[in-house]
Every structure is written in C-alpha cells, then in structure tokens.
C-alpha cells in the first residue's frame, strides 16, 4: 500500500554538510511532524547500513554521494519498494536525473517541497491533495508548452524574461507534479491535455 505521511517512521538525509542536513530536516518538519525519525548519513556506506537497518520511507541523498558506486538504484526499487528517493543537488541548473522519484535543489521553496511530498506521501485527511498537486499553474503550463515545442531552458528564459534558474525550478516542479520524467512523456501529456496541438510539434 502506498505510504501516507502518517506512516513515515524513518527518513534518511545523506549529505556531507551538517548545515545542509539540518536545514533539510527543519524544512521536512512541517510536513512530517515529530513522528518521523530523521537519520543523518555522511557517506554511502552509512546510507547502505541505515537502509538495511531501518527500511526507511524517504531518502534524501546529495548528488555526490548518489553518484558513487555501491548502491544499485534499480535494485532498491524492488528490494525496498516502500522507499522514495529524492536527489539533492546544489546547482539549481543541474540536469534532472530520471532514476529517482524527484529532485530538489538548494533553492527549493517550502511550497515546492510541500507539493512534492504531498504527491509522494498523500495525507489521509486530504483526499484532494494529489489532484491539486497534479494541476499545473498557468506559468508551468506555458513553460511545458515551450518545452515540448523544442525550446531550450535558455530560450524559454529569454522569451519569458525569467532567469535560467527560475525556468529550471519550474521544469522540476512540472516533472514532480506530473510524475512524468522524459520529454517524450511530457509531450504526450501536453497533447492529451490540449496544451499543444500536433501541428505545433517540431518536425524531426
């Protein structure tokens, strides 16, 4: 059964920097409350040990640790099916990695984190939360349209007079809300929802 926020007993935050670990922990507190035990790890070996010992529901792992060899992320999906993994990157413009359940960066807002956690761990007392989380804002819909019609992040930023970082954040929020990670998948979504016409698609 899909875990809800009240089922969460253990969360691992894996990051070498104590300040970032503590900052993330305090941002998680409003969503999970005091019931979840937050475990800190600084190395991949510690992550492996904690995964085996606690079977946690959420792992937030810094990109440099996740990039090391030692954990087979595909296998984890089958051996720890309850586990959701969020990749934590410092660079807001970092490329999105598809193998995790979501990606957050150092500039993530509390609202964006809350929306992502709502999708991964729906609350029992709020049946509409996932529906709300899958609705794109007007700005996100506009950016999705530009993405699937072949515009790069740089081009979108120029066209909408936004910073590169703001467009990257919108992209991540779109992916997190829809649960669709590839551009080909997002294109199908945009066509199905009438966000883009087939005639607008770039010809290959």
């Amino acid at each position: 059964m899909m875990p809800t926020s009240s089922d969460i007993q253990h969360i691992i935050i894996a990051c070498p920097a104590p300040l970032l670990r503590n900052g993330l922990q305090s941002m998680l507190l409003p969503f999970f409350g005091e019931q979840a035990k937050v475990l800190h790890a600084q190395t991949l070996a510690e992550v492996r040990h904690l995964l085996q010992q606690y079977s946690p529901q959420l792992l937030i792992i810094a990109a440099p640790i996740a990039a090391q060899e030692g954990i087979n992320w595909t296998e984890i999906k089958f051996t720890q099916p309850q586990l959701k993994v969020l990749l934590f990157v410092r660079d807001p413009n970092a490329e999105i990695q598809n193998r995790f359940h979501g990606q957050i960066d150092i500039n993530i807002t509390e609202e964006a984190l809350d929306a992502l956690l709502h999708r991964l761990f729906p609350r029992e007392d709020s049946h509409d939360s996932t529906t709300e989380a899958s609705n794109l804002s007007a700005r996100e819909t506009e950016i999705l349209h530009l993405m699937v019609t072949g515009k790069t992040t740089k081009k979108i930023a120029e066209m909408l007079s936004l910073s590169h970082h703001t467009v990257s954040t919108h992209r991540k929020n779109i992916i997190n809300k829809l649960g669709i990670k590839t551009l080909a998948g997002l294109t199908v979504y945009a066509i199905m929802k009438g966000i883009v016409d087939l005639e607008d698609m770039p010809k290959k």
């Binding site: 595909t74 089958f78 598809n98 193998r99 649960g179 199908v188 066509i191 199905m192 929802k193 087939l198």
Partner: protein, 235 residues
C-alpha cells in the same frame, strides 16, 4: 533458500513460473519428469552451476552472486542473454505494441495516438540498446574469450573495455515508467473492456523481466568479463 543443481526443476517451475522462461531460453523443453537441474542440464549440455546462477539471480532479489572467475560460463551466458534479447524484441514488446495500437483505436481520439508514438519511442530505445549489446559488447566478449582459450594476447583493435558499458538502462526505464503513468494517472478511461488493464500488467511484467535481465548483465556478466580483462590485459 536458494536453488542448487540437486533441486527438481519441475517443482521449481510450479513454485516460480518465471523459471519456465529461463528453461526455454536455455533451450530446454518441458516434460521434465522429476529430473534434477543437474540431470536436465547434462542432457542438454548446459553447465548446471550457470543454470542455477541465472535462476537464483532472476528469482530472488536478495540473491547476490559471488565474484566469479568461471570464464567457461561466458559462451552459454551470452547465448542465454541473446535469447533473452530475442524474446524482448521479437515477441514481448511487439505483443504490448499491438495491444497499445488496439487501445488507441478503442479510445478513438486522434490525440491519443501520441501515446503510441511514445511507446514506439520506447521500442526504438530498447532495440538500439539491444543492438549495441549484440553487435559491440557481446562480440567484444566473444573475441576476448577466444583469445583467452587460445592463449593469445588480444589484438590492438580490441580497444573496447567493459567499463564503458552499463549506463544505458536508466533512460529506457524512465520511458516505460512514463507510459505507465500516463495510462494510470493522466488518460481518462473512456473505453470499456480489460485491454488497458492487460497492457498495464504487461508493462509491469516487462519491467520485471528487463530488471532481471539487467541484473544478469551487471552482476554476473560484467564482473566476469572485468576479471578476464585483468588477466588478459594487465595494466
């Protein structure tokens, strides 16, 4: 408990039907009577230890193969993996593809054709990956193994090494996940009948099969070849 050559193969298939595909890919027909894995393998010139290794990796998520220097596994393991490739490309994926096409017809909306395009994109990615393995990776391993048997030094043209291989699987998985997500989360079910459910079940099965296949490549084949490379091409 994991399986060994002393276990009865028919009992294993009754307990884990997935083992039937493994038996088939090794070229072993059914009608197994009460023969042990060892006996059946001897009859078909299959190495029983390789058969149980493949069986255990494919059946148990928590089975971890030990570091192997059993280089004589290589030819039969490559044949098994090639047979598995043919299963995906010639049979399993076209079956889902046909069902997706039927579903689009049932839904009857022009824009849902985009879903079929996405699945075609998936098929292209899988086919390209499998072609790369068949034509580059497997051929390289066969040549390396031939040199090993003949006690020859690998020629300079064998510049490839197995460490290059491995990162391609992530993107393929993501597209498959997106197809499932679209069918379950985003495309309203207006059609009647069991077809969508059947497709989703097939996609989960395909994902599971590809996962076992990838484990065999990453956890058995690659370490085996890495050890052989160390022996053949000392740095």
């Amino acid at each position: 408990m994991f399986y060994g050559p002393q276990h009865c193969l028919a009992d294993i298939i009754l307990e884990h039907p997935g083992a039937m595909y493994i038996t088939e890919r090794f070229g072993i027909p059914l009608g197994l009577e009460n023969k042990t894995i060892r006996k059946v393998c001897e009859e078909h010139a299959i190495i029983p230890e390789l058969f149980t290794l493949v069986l255990n990796v494919s059946t148990f998520n928590h089975f971890i193969p030990g570091r192997s220097e059993e280089y004589h596994f290589i030819p039969q393991l490559l044949r098994y993996l090639s047979s598995s490739h043919r299963y995906f490309v010639d049979w399993k994926i076209p079956e889902v593809d046909k069902n997706v096409a039927s579903l689009i017809l049932q839904i009857g909306e022009k824009k849902t054709e985009a879903l079929h395009t996405l699945f075609k994109h998936y098929i292209a990615e899988v086919s390209e990956h499998i072609q790369y393995e068949n034509e580059i990776v497997f051929k390289y391993i066969q040549e390396l193994y031939r040199c090993y048997l003949n006690k020859e030094q690998p020629g300079k043209d064998i510049s490839y090494h197995i460490g290059v291989y491995g990162a391609h699987h992530d993107d393929i998985e993501s597209v498959l996940m997106d197809v499932k997500n679209l069918l379950i989360r985003h495309i309203p079910q207006t059609e009647k009948g069991p077809l969508r459910r059947r497709i989703i079940r097939q996609l989960f099965q395909l994902e599971r099969d590809l996962y076992s296949h990838t484990r065999l490549e990453n956890e058995v084949l690659i370490p085996l070849v890495q050890n052989l490379e160390k022996e053949m091409k000392p740095s």
